[in-house]
């Protein structure tokens, strides 16, 4: 994958800034930005474009969350590209190039081969912090090779920490020999809980034991209680009998005394008291009888002395009325003068009103008028003629309530009508004015115009959209596309002709190229095979030669079967010659035997020489045969070597022929390959390269096709533009607008047409509004005039009603409302004055009548009961009042005398009753005393005290006997009396104390037993009560279960963590085994490079625990340094070396993923930074590297040390809100 472009539409300080990362094969893209230039933002943007913007973002200080957008263009290794826009949000944050269409989740991940953000960050992102951490972790890890490789291979900077954390967590949970760790402690607690459960459990046998003990104690206690009760009873009886004995003696004595008293009248308890009370009553009655006689005589005398005036008392009702009349008479006398003054005032007021408002009604009675005002009214007159006149006139002017209301209503009505009238008149004049104005304005407006054609033309022009801009954009696009196509064509290798020729040229198909490629590959493979085979055959030959030489050197010439056969053949031939010679007796010819005899050049043919020769050959054959047998193995080796040698030679010959053929085939294929491209005039490169060339050509052709499409499209657009321009300008001219210059833009023309249309439309609207307004005003004017007429008619009606209403007040019909109201008020005032006068007149008459009545009553009463008082009957005389006062005085005295006499009479009655009572009491007391004498069997009252004494004595003795009886029975406690008495009488008093002591001893023994038994019982019951079904053991069991549950959780956790630790350890070890070769080799070189030769490389060693550890090798290769001995800087470089080495190894077998590096060179000096940049540049051959840096010197260093084809520097502008990102290479 490669990142082609990072577009910072709205992110951090950036607005529509674009970072073009497409250049270069893969390339080392150095993105440099000084502080505040947004380097960090750009780095974040790159990551967040891939994996999403986090919920809390610090890059929203210019663009709010909702506007944040990052664009990214990626190219996969198969050539397909993805253009995406990342927005901030919760869902659908990944959008297509248009910025609106959501892309499916996982689209980016597919380009990244499924990497998650965390994996990406750990493996394909490297920053300064990680470098430092990684270096530290290496130092902390002590150079454990596996951990170092594992950590650097995965970018797992916290591996050491993770392992340490796992160990710590495990240690917190459990330690084999520990006691305080959670699981250790839990196990102890569980043990204790189980112990506690056992202790808390109640065994059934224990319960049964205590229950039995309780039952036994209970039974024995019952027995002891029984015996104790018996002994107590016996003791108590003896004591009772002892107590009863003196009582029996006293009983006998009392019986004797009673017998001595003889026959006695037994008197009841209150006898003496009754007798004494009767005597007292008798004596008191006698004294009372004498006292009352004297009192009665005295009272009779006092009654006779008192005299009462009964006649006067008989007139009590009349006297009461007299008292009331006297008070009323006095009140009337005081009120009369005031009332008369009131009457005069009212009459004068009424007269004044009449004279003021209605003088015509009073005319002709001047004197009467004066009289009314000047003279007092005579006291006794009942009818006053002056008053009559005023009243009569007033009567004429009385208005009913309805009449007053009618006047008031009419007055209100008049006001309303007047107001209405004024309103209608005003409205009529206003409407008339408005109508005139509207008509005049309508007349001034210009006539209407037809706008239809312009409207249509404009709509059509608008339907085309912004043609100017589209046209311009099209032109630009076309120009860009043309440039692109020209550039691409220029870049197409091997080709110098025009694009059209390239387009038309017939090129081989991909399949043809594949075929050639396969063929070349086959030839290559075969050649390689042949070469290999040849090498091995030559080796075989050399080996066989070697073997022969060796045999030769060890044992000289080795006999062969052929040698033997050859010698034997010679021998046999000679024998045949010898035989023939012997048989024919003729020596053979020298030619026949020449070669067989010695010397060969001039052999002497003789039987002897023949025989010698035969013997020699015979001996030679035997010797060969013997050697063959004796040196059989060497012979075999020799034979085998010879065979191999022969075979190898044959094979070499064959291979030579094959190679020649193959060369011919290769040449033929190459010539055919060249022929295939001949028509293009090209000298083709390898099929693989030509496939790439074809792809480039295809892309170029595609570009050309697109270019053609663009041209066609552009032409159509130009045509449309001219058409719409013409139409619009024609229509505008038709409407009288000035002619349009042909270079005026369509947009301006359209705006002008729109403005014209708008102006005409507004004019039309105004006209319509005015016409409507005129007709509406006319209608309103008519309505107002009709209303005015109605008001006038209602006013006429009112005038008639008003004349009728004011007539009773003697007013003219044209009187004003205010005047009428004033007259009505005066009439009302007059009526109230008249009413006051009438009331006063009535009250004066009543006063006078009551005074006369009172005087008459007084006189009549005096005639009946006090003829000495004869008052004067004239009105106003005071004698009546005096007489009345005297009468009241006399009546009070008569009442008092009568009361005193009545009291004396009641006292006398009381005395009489007392005298009767005393008599009665005396007789009753005498009778009671007589009865008492009879009861006491005495003749005289004076004998009674003695009889009473005898009776008391007898009763006392009886009581004593009774008490004794009861005491004895009580002591008997229910035992039959006689039996008890007999037993008591039979008691031996002298032995009694001994008997009692014996019983007491037994009882105390039994008491002790009982106490003991009670204690036993109580104890057992207590124990059993404690065993009352308590749930203690069950609770402890539940606690133990809880502990077990806790332990189960902890054990599970421990097992999980422990397995994790063990698995991690094993994985680290395996990774080490697998990767230490390739990664370490690569890292060793990088480390040497990065440390500028301070170290020669890396080496694996083993520590005391046989664990593989990494050591750095000093120059020279002999001295090594343990990782712990490295400086921090070297450790950082070691980490970087391992990291880059792992990545390099990865890239060998995987599709590339860009590496994002952030300011890792901060702490490197220039030389080491240069070395690191070179290492990165080297890696950028295989994958894109995006290196962010704040430091300009890094740029300089990079430009100085990295091949310009490989390095692409992008400068983030330091100016605020960077719009442009410069790129240079």
């Amino acid at each position: 994958m490669k990142i082609l472009e990072l577009a910072l539409h709205a992110f951090g300080p950036f607005t529509d800034a674009v970072l073009d990362l497409s250049a270069g094969q893969e390339g080392l893209h150095l993105i440099y930005g000084p502080n505040e230039a947004g380097k960090s933002s750009a780095l974040r943007a790159l990551r967040q474009a891939l994996f999403g913007i986090p919920a809390q973002s610090s890059d929203s200080f210019v663009h709010p969350y909702s506007k944040m957008r990052i664009g990214l263009t990626l190219r996969a290794d198969d050539g397909c590209t993805l253009q995406l826009i990342r927005r901030k949000g919760n869902r659908n944050t990944l959008l297509g190039a248009d910025g609106t269409t959501p892309l499916a989740n996982g689209t980016v991940e597919r380009f990244l081969g499924g990497l998650t953000e965390a994996e990406f960050k750990s493996r394909f992102a490297l920053d300064h912090e990680e470098l430092i951490q990684g270096g530290k972790a290496i130092l902390q890890g002590g150079g454990e090779l596996g951990a170092v490789l594992f950590q650097a291979g995965g970018g797992l900077k916290n591996l050491v920490e993770v392992r340490r954390e796992l160990d710590r967590e495990l240690d917190e949970l459990f330690r084999p020999g520990g006691s305080k760790r959670r699981i250790n402690a839990g196990l102890s607690e569980l043990k204790e809980a189980n112990e506690a459960k056992r202790n808390a459990a109640l065994h059934s046998s224990k319960w049964l034991e205590h229950d039995t003990a309780r039952r036994e104690a209970s039974t024995r206690l019952a027995e002891v209680e029984l015996r104790l009760s018996e002994k107590h009873a016996a003791k108590r009886r003896l004591e009772r009998l002892g107590e009863a004995l003196p009582l029996l003696t006293r009983q006998r004595t009392s019986e004797q005394e009673l017998a001595q008293l003889g026959d006695v009248a037994l008197l009841s308890e209150p006898f003496q008291k009754t007798r004494l009370e009767a005597q007292v009553r008798r004596d008191a009655a006698r004294a009372a009888r004498e006292g009352t006689g004297e009192a009665i005589a005295r009272l009779d005398r006092q009654i006779a002395e008192l005299v009462v005036d009964e006649d006067l008392l008989a007139e009590a009702d009349a006297i009461e009325r007299l008292r009331e009349g006297l008070a009323a008479d006095r009140k009337a006398r005081r009120a009369l003068p005031g009332e008369e003054a009131n009457l005069r005032q009212a009459l004068a007021g009424a007269h004044d009103l009449l004279a003021e408002s209605w003088p015509h009604l009073l005319s002709g009675s001047r004197e009467a008028e004066e009289q009314v005002v000047g003279e007092p009214i005579p006291g006794g007159a009942n009818v006053d003629p002056r008053l009559d006149r005023v009243l009569k006139v007033g009567e004429q002017l009385r208005l009913t309530r309805a009449q007053k209301a009618a006047i008031a209503n009419l007055a209100g009505e008049r006001t309303r009508l007047a107001a209405e009238r004024a309103q209608t008149s005003a409205r009529i004049s206003e409407l008339a004015g408005q109508l005139d104005d509207a008509t005049a304005e309508l007349g001034r407006l210009a006539p209407p115009t037809a706008t239809g054609p312009l409207d249509v033309a404009l709509r059509q022009a608008r339907d085309q959209g912004d043609l100017d801009r589209i046209l311009e954009a099209g032109r630009n696009r076309l120009a860009v596309a043309e440039n692109e196509a020209a550039r691409a064509l220029a870049q197409l290798p091997l080709w110098t002709g025009p694009l059209e020729t390239l387009e038309r040229a017939c090129v081989p198909t991909v399949e043809t190229i594949d075929r050639f490629e396969a063929e070349f590959a086959r030839i290559g493979t075969e050649q390689e095979q042949l070469r290999t085979e040849r090498r091995s055959t030559v080796a075989e030959q050399a080996e066989a030669d070697g073997a022969l030489e060796q045999l030769r050197q060890i044992a000289g010439t080795v006999p062969t079967q052929d040698d033997l056969v050859q010698v034997r053949a010679l021998r046999d031939r000679l024998w045949r010659l010898i035989r023939r010679a012997w048989e024919s007796n003729c020596l053979p010819a020298p030619d026949d035997v020449g070669s067989l005899l010695e010397p060969r050049q001039a052999p002497i043919i003789s039987p002897g020489s023949l025989a010698d020769a035969f013997e020699r050959l015979e001996s030679q054959a035997d010797s060969h045969a013997d050697r063959l047998r004796r040196e059989a193995s060497r012979v075999a080796q020799h034979a085998a070597a010879l065979a191999s040698l022969h075979k190898a030679r044959q094979r070499l010959d064959f291979l030579e022929i094959q190679e020649k053929e193959l060369l011919q085939r290769a040449e033929a294929t190459r010539s055919r390959w060249a022929t295939t491209w001949a028509n293009l005039g090209l000298d083709p490169l390898s099929p693989r390269e030509m496939r790439g060339w074809l792809q480039l050509r295809k892309d170029l052709l595609k570009q050309a096709a697109e270019l053609q499409d663009l041209r066609t499209e552009q032409k159509g657009l130009e045509g449309k533009h001219v058409l719409h321009h013409q139409r619009l300008s024609q229509c505008l001219q038709a409407l009288g607008c000035p002619s349009c210059p042909s270079d005026e833009s369509l947009t301006a023309l359209r705006d002008r047409a729109e403005a014209e249309l708008k102006r005409l439309a507004e004019l039309e609207i105004k006209r319509n509004r005015l016409i409507e307004s005129v007709s509406k005003l006319k209608r309103q004017l008519e309505t107002a005039r009709a209303q005015d007429l109605v008001v006038e008619q209602r006013l006429e009606t009112w005038r008639g009603q008003w004349a009728v209403a004011v007539a009773p007040l003697s007013l003219a019909p044209d009187v004003t409302i205010e005047e009428a109201a004033e007259v009505v008020n005066q009439a009302t005032d007059l009526q109230s004055r008249i009413k006051e006068a009438r009331d006063s007149q009535r009250r004066i008459a009543v006063f006078r009548q009551e005074a006369a009545q009172f005087a008459g009553d007084v006189r009549n009463l005096c005639q009946r009961v006090a003829s000495d008082l004869n008052p004067d009957a004239s009105p106003g005389s005071s004698s009546v009042e005096i007489a009345a006062g005297e009468l009241l005085q006399r009546f009070r005295i008569a009442q008092e005398t009568s009361t005193a006499k009545q009291a004396l009479i009641r006292q006398r009655e009381s005395e009489l009753t007392s005298a009767r009572n005393a008599e009665q009491s005396l007789s009753e007391a005498s009778l009671q005393l007589a009865a008492l004498c009879q009861e006491a069997r005495c003749a005289l009252v004076d004998d009674l005290p003695r009889a009473e004494q005898r009776s008391r004595d007898a009763l006392e003795l009886r009581d004593r006997l009774k008490v004794l009886d009861e005491q004895i029975q009580q002591l008997g406690a229910g035992e039959p009396f006689d039996a008890f008495r007999q037993a008591a009488l039979a008691l031996d008093l002298d032995r009694l104390p001994d008997q009692l002591q014996a019983l007491a001893d037994e009882i105390s023994q039994l008491d002790a037993d009982r106490g003991e038994l009670n204690q036993v019982l109580g104890r057992e019951q207590q124990v059993l009560r404690q065993m009352d079904g308590s749930s203690r053991a069950a609770e402890v069991a539940e606690q133990a279960e809880e502990l077990k549950a806790r332990l189960a959780v902890d054990v599970g956790e421990y097992a999980r963590l422990r397995l994790a630790a063990v698995v991690l350890h094993e994985a680290i070890d395996r990774y080490r085994q697998r990767s230490q070769g390739p990664v370490l080799d690569r890292a060793s070189g990088l480390f040497a490079q990065l440390t500028l030769g301070s170290f020669n490389g890396l080496k694996v060693d083993y520590d005391d625990h046989d664990q593989a550890v990494l050591r750095a090798v000093r120059p020279g290769g002999t001295e090594t340094v343990g990782i712990a001995g490295l400086s921090e800087g070297s450790a950082d470089q070691l980490y970087l070396a391992l990291r880059l080495a792992s990545l390099g190894t990865y890239l060998e077998s995987h599709e590339p993923i860009p590496l994002v590096v952030d300011d890792i060179l901060i702490q490197f000096d220039d030389d080491r930074a240069t070395a690191a940049l070179r290492a990165l540049a080297e890696l950028s051959r295989r994958t894109q590297i995006v290196l962010f840096s704040h430091h300009e010197h890094v740029c300089r260093l990079a430009q100085a040390c990295v091949d310009p084809d490989r390095l692409l520097v992008h400068r983030l502008s330091g100016r605020a809100r960077a719009k442009v990102i410069e790129a240079s290479s």
Binding site: G114, S122, G154, L202, S204, K206, E1041, E1042, K1044, E1066
Partner: protein
């Protein structure tokens, strides 16, 4: 008409198992649940004025040594005696195994049927004939039902039998019999015991019922627990057999689907919502809850690698939502990742090596067990057998291995 209660498997004082105590857990409220369930049974009998109570075996745990348990039972029976309610019971396998059974003196209203042979007790007032036989020993493997007496005519015939019938998973195959054996007796109601899950094997003519145990004791005994309230009419026909829930602590498992959840907090939020639905179902009882989280989720790595933390979060959610009524027994985080970390993704990176190693171990039991033994030997040697919990078995180790991967990946990749 009369009514009676049918209860079984009271397992008095058997502790609640598997509840790990934590801050805020309703520890006190959970204590003595079996006792309180028995009190509830007695209370129900008194309130419903039942004619008698039938207890069909396993009153105690077989290995329970505390005589106080028997005394407590005695006290409860006294309450029934004071209410004039007799109790008929047979002994089950656990009772037969417990020594306390022989020693305990029962109140005179409690009648235990013979263990020598099937016996019939008669309640003349209600016209009930109760047939039953106690377990003489712990393991009774004969078919006891066949030797039960024939039905008594003119009576309501009630059979008490502690049995597994024709076998029930998780229960010893004691006193095996078939439904046909039981029906052949022609009783009106078979009150069975031994199986802890409520089950009506047959309705009407006759009723054959396992009432289940009175109180669940661990997560494998979930749901409502109680007894049967049986109403019998004057014709000696069962009118109704209703369930009455008497448990104090209700055991439930909350199956939580974590699919689609983007993080642990969302999973906890889902749990909270589920808990709100669950709570009303158990009235005001305590809820002992096992949470079983499954499904492929983004939260998998976090959940499994920080299991302790998330367990606490679940507990806190329960505290917030369920006041003090919920005890989270265990949170099983059995989620799976949304995508597997394969070698393809990671290339030949160290993590791929780790993933490959995990895969190999997962597929090779022998190697896995060897690794487990090597890693855990120190611990397992110290653990009592009941805490070993299969740590030496490949299944358990595989389960742990499923969590080991995410744990390591999460921690190693943490930024």
């Amino acid at each position: 008409m009369f009514r009676f209660l049918h209860a079984a498997d009271i397992h008095l004082d058997s502790p609640q198992r598997g509840l790990d105590r934590y801050e805020g857990a309703p520890v006190v409220e959970c204590r003595g649940a079996t006792r309180r369930a028995l009190e509830n049974l007695v209370g129900l009998a008194l309130a419903e004025r039942v004619a008698f109570v039938a207890i069909v075996g396993d009153l105690y745990d077989g290995d329970w040594p505390d005589y106080n348990t028997g005394l407590f039972f005695g006290k409860q029976m006294v309450r029934l005696r004071d209410g004039g309610i007799p109790v008929f019971m047979i002994r089950g396998n656990h009772d037969a195994a417990n020594k306390m059974t022989k020693d305990l003196k029962l109140v005179d209203n409690v009648h235990v049927l013979s263990s020598q042979q099937a016996e019939t007790l008669v309640l003349e007032d209600q016209g009930v004939a109760i047939h039953g036989q106690s377990f003489p020993t712990q393991a009774v493997l004969t078919n006891l039902a066949r030797s039960y007496p024939a039905r008594r005519k003119g009576y309501f015939n009630l059979g008490l039998l502690h049995t597994c019938v024709d076998g029930r998973e998780g229960h010893e195959p004691y006193a095996p019999c078939s439904l046909a054996d039981l029906r052949a007796r022609e009783y009106g109601y078979w009150a069975l015991g031994h199986v802890h899950t409520r089950e009506i094997l047959y309705r009407d003519d006759p009723w054959i019922v396992f009432p289940g145990n009175l109180q669940g004791r661990h997560a494998r005994e979930p749901g409502a627990k109680g007894c049967m309230l049986v109403t019998v009419d004057d014709h000696h026909d069962v009118v109704s057999a209703e369930t009455r829930w008497l448990d104090v602590v209700r055991w439930e498992t909350c199956q939580l689907d974590a699919r689609g959840a983007c993080d642990g907090d969302e999973v906890v939020a889902r749990f909270r919502a589920r808990l709100i639905q669950l709570l009303p179902c158990c009235d005001d009882r305590l809820l002992a809850l096992r949470v079983d989280v499954r499904g492929a989720t983004e939260a998998h790595a976090s959940l499994t690698s920080h299991a302790t933390h998330w367990t606490s979060e679940f507990r806190q959610a329960a505290l917030d939502t369920g006041a003090c009524r919920v005890w989270i027994e265990k949170v099983l985080l059995r989620t799976s990742p949304q995508r597997s970390l394969t070698e393809d993704i990671l290339g030949d990176a160290p993590l791929a090596e780790l993933a490959a190693l995990l895969d190999e171990l997962r597929g090779d039991d022998a190697r896995l067990v060897a690794l487990g033994t090597r890693a855990l030997d120190d611990l397992t040697r110290k653990l009592p057998p009941d805490l070993l919990d299969g740590l030496d078995s490949p299944q358990r180790l595989r389960g742990l291995l499923d969590q080991v991967g995410p744990l390591l990946f999460e921690r190693l990749l943490k930024q």
